[in-house]
């Protein structure tokens, strides 16, 4: 166990932060410029995951179990959100017959 614990601290925290931020911005780019709604939803999942990683890293480094519990809850929420999001997508496909996100533009002035 001791080796594992010391092994954990080998990788400095900044690297995890960097990785997480990179994943997040990649996901963000995807959300901004993909037009397919499904891809957008997937990129949102990616962003969730990057956050999960970050929190877990912090939890491991500070030996705080509540961090991991929090990640658990985030996963719960993400799962629920995917379910509802996909059903909305299905409805969208049914109504406008496409998943192009730019077709949902009724919320105008």
């Amino acid at each position: 166990m001791k080796e594992i614990s010391s092994a954990i601290q080998l990788i400095p925290l900044e690297h995890y932060i960097l990785l997480s931020v990179a994943l997040f911005s990649i996901g963000l780019m995807g959300v901004l410029f993909r037009r397919n709604t499904i891809i957008i939803l997937m990129c949102i999942e990616l962003m969730f995951n990057s956050v999960n990683l970050l929190v877990t890293a912090f939890a491991a480094y500070h030996s705080d179990p509540s961090g991991q519990v929090f990640v658990f809850f985030i996963m719960i929420v993400a799962a629920a959100e995917v379910a509802v999001g996909l059903s909305i997508l299905v409805m969208m496909k049914r109504n406008v017959d496409s998943v192009d996100i730019n077709l949902l533009n009724r919320l105008k002035w």
Partner: protein
């Protein structure tokens, strides 16, 4: 190494044309993430991650894609300006966050370092001691999500917003 895999697969997720390909790349990314969790000694989380995310959510995605026949469509890319501006924005965001986190002050750990964090028993203990209420409420959340999903999925009574 693992990080490199993750980043590359994420980039592919974003930039691939076929939705099914994007799904595959996302799965790869998630497996990489599970590996990262194991590296951090968060065993419980790794397992849950694989089960929930890779197993359930991605399957759901694939299911919907197949159902709606989206793999056959090729969406026209947006105008160049939008694309480039999106990339630039993402890049700026990245830089800003990095700059922000560079100034992180060293926080002293709350508990003395114990290597047992991440074990299922530890996580379970915390979950049911401190976070009991959120746990129960999340079940309510699931119920509402299910109801919502079912409601949206109904064929009749759908208001036509064309």
């Amino acid at each position: 190494m693992l990080s490199a895999i993750m980043i590359i697969s994420a980039l592919f997720v974003v930039f691939s044309k076929n939705p099914v390909d994007s799904v595959i790349y996302l799965i790869i990314c998630f497996i990489g993430m599970a590996g990262q969790y194991i590296l951090l000694n968060a065993q419980f989380l790794a397992v849950v991650h694989v089960i929930v995310y890779t197993g359930a959510i991605m399957v759901l995605f694939l299911f919907v894609i197949m159902l709606l026949n989206l793999n056959k469509e090729i969406i026209v890319r947006k105008s160049k300006v939008t694309r480039i501006s999106a990339v630039i924005t993402g890049g700026i965001f990245f830089l800003v966050m990095v700059a922000a986190t560079r100034q992180v002050i060293e926080i002293h750990p709350r508990y003395p370092f114990s290597g047992t964090v991440g074990l299922v028993s530890e996580v379970g203990k915390t979950l049911f001691h401190e976070f009991l209420l959120p746990f129960e409420i999340s079940s309510v959340l699931f119920i509402s999500a299910m109801i919502g999903a079912v409601m949206f999925g109904k064929k009749d009574e759908v208001k036509n917003f064309k």
